[in-house]
């Protein structure tokens, strides 16, 4: 099996703060990789570097053999991303959001129509496809984002806390669909979550990151063995401690909170 994602000694500093401190890992094609860590551990920063949104301070990344810093275009073509926070246009309908994505990724018209219909059906939004996204609940928006990320048949799917706010039914449906994609198309899945049982159940391999460094990696069972714990939750707490982390609140988050208060 070949490694579709290879990361070597990846670092990212923001001024004096080093958010990611020399992270290395690799993921085989067709595997599901769980990237775990407490808030502020460096998960999102790492994902942003892998998905061409941030330039690393140093280190190397290979996504399907390509370097995101040198050939972002080629890397972007192969990725489907569900971001941690919203990324839909609330003033457009569900179908328009999907259609815009398909156009940006160069999906031909006929296929675009078919896949939109199929994926909207899969996330059970068919009856709401012509409604504005602003009228959707958090869970519905999430489902739409998942459908959108899959519509150009990406080789690698990045899901940053995708199941946050999803009910168990939708969560299971999503994982079933991803398993099917993995089987049919060899899709690789890179996800983060705070639900350890979800990681245990769905990940082939995991890595635990804390304070910008990877502190454990392997299959979920291996990590449990290393820490001599029965559940991944206990293993995780053993590795990362019980202190509650505080994330600094960025201007963006303040703004979003304001937007929510205004009912956007």
């Amino acid at each position: 099996m070949t490694d579709i994602i290879e990361v070597h000694d990846l670092r990212k500093g923001f001024g004096p703060i080093e958010a990611v401190k020399g992270v290395s890992f690799s993921i085989q094609k067709g595997q599901t990789f769980g990237f775990l860590g407490p808030n502020g551990a460096g998960k999102s920063t790492t994902i942003k570097m892998l998905t061409t949104l941030l330039t690393p301070t140093s280190g190397t990344i290979r996504i399907d053999g390509k370097d995101p810093t040198k050939d972002p275009h080629a890397v972007r073509l192969g990725l489907g991303i569900v971001f941690q926070d919203h990324s839909l246009d609330d003033d457009l309908t569900a179908r328009e959001n999907m259609d815009m994505h398909g156009l940006l990724y160069g999906v031909p018209t006929l296929e675009r129509r078919e896949r939109i219909a199929e994926l909207i059906e899969f996330v059970e939004l068919s009856h709401r496809q012509d409604d504005y996204v602003r009228q959707f609940s958090g869970g519905m928006k999430r489902r739409l984002e998942i459908a959108r990320a899959l519509m150009h048949r990406p080789k690698i799917v990045f899901l940053d806390e995708p199941t946050l706010g999803l009910d168990p039914q939708t969560r299971n449906l999503m994982w079933e669909y991803l398993a099917k994609l993995k089987q049919d198309q060899g899709t690789t899945v890179f996800f983060t979550t705070h639900y350890m049982d979800e990681a245990d159940r769905n990940a082939d391999t995991i890595a635990v990151i804390d304070h910008g460094s990877i502190i454990a990696s392997g299959t979920p069972d291996e990590v449990k063995r290393q820490t001599k714990k029965r559940s991944l939750e206990d293993a995780f707490l053993e590795l990362t401690g019980r202190d509650i982390r505080e994330e600094s609140v960025s201007g963006n988050e303040r703004m979003r909170a304001m937007g929510r208060a205004r009912g956007r």
């Binding site: 942003k48 998905t51 061409t52 949104l53 941030l54 330039t55 275009h73 080629a74 972007r76 073509l77 990725l79 991303i81 971001f83 926070d85 919203h86 990324s87 839909l88 246009d89 609330d90 003033d91 457009l92 328009e96 815009m100 994505h101 156009l103 940006l104 990724y105 160069g106 201007g251 963006n252 303040r254 703004m255 979003r256 937007g259 956007r264």
Partner: protein, 249 residues
């Protein structure tokens, strides 16, 4: 490239057409200026031997509408960054310059439509174009002016982090550009210092060009106006592409 420009353009236009309240709200300011200044100062203007103030003022007010609408539309960039939609376009396998062009043209189209609504309203209050055939080139010029300010708004917005700074932009960028442009007064009889400042204001050429086409009065001549506006538009589009290509999320 073209597909991306189209997608981003269509998004802006759809959003605009779907918010009639925004279209109507944006009519208030130009109408107040037209009514208060047009009729309030009309007598003085005429007594000073400059002819009809409404004929003089309308191209300036249309220019104002275009500047406010296009800069405001550029501020959408801040909103998109805060609410995440920007990321969706930043990870798409398309040239960032195409995203910037599409947004700019979309904003410019929206501003031109808004400008046309205002122009139509001015016909009701007594404005009449000097030559109806020149209304079409005037619309093309409006689009050019709108492109300049739409690009400017987008570039400024891409450097800002919250919507509160929008008021800052309006007070320290849009307002001075509007007042210095000669939208409200003839440049020919204004003090030298004012005229010198106006030379550096792209809106000056926009208003002057529209005045040439709609009211047959011009300070620089429409050839100069179009050349300057075109050059500024190209410059800003290049700057904007550069900025978008380096933008991180």
């Amino acid at each position: 490239m073209l597909r991306t420009v189209y997608v981003m353009w269509l998004r802006e236009v759809k959003k605009f057409l779907r918010s009639p309240s925004r279209i109507i709200a944006a009519l208030a300011q130009p109408l107040f200026y037209l009514l208060a200044l047009g009729f309030g100062l009309g007598g003085v203007f005429q007594a000073a031997g400059h002819g009809s103030y409404i004929q003089f003022l309308v191209p300036g007010i249309v220019g104002m509408t275009i500047v406010f609408t296009s800069v405001f539309n550029g501020m959408q960039v801040i909103w998109d960054r805060q609410f995440g939609f920007m990321k969706e376009t930043m990870v798409a396998p398309v040239p960032r310059s195409a995203i910037m062009f599409g947004r700019t043209l979309g904003g410019a189209t929206v501003a031109t439509l808004q400008g046309l609504v205002v122009l139509a309203l001015t016909l009701v209050i007594g404005f009449h174009p000097h030559n109806w055939a020149l209304v079409f080139p005037a619309i093309a010029l409006m689009l050019l002016v709108a492109t300049v300010f739409s690009a400017l708004g987008i570039i400024v917005a891409s450097h800002l982090s919250d919507m509160q700074s929008f008021q800052f932009v309006v007070n320290f960028m849009v307002m001075p550009m509007f007042f210095l442009s000669g939208a409200l007064f003839p440049l020919g009889t204004s003090p030298l210092v004012l005229r010198a400042f106006a030379t550096f204001d792209p809106l000056t050429y926009g208003v002057d060009g529209m005045r040439a086409l709609l009211s047959n009065a011009s300070h620089y001549g429409s050839a100069t106006d179009i050349t300057v506006l075109f050059a500024v538009a190209v410059l800003l589009l290049v700057m904007g592409s550069y900025r978008f290509a380096r933008m991180e999320a």
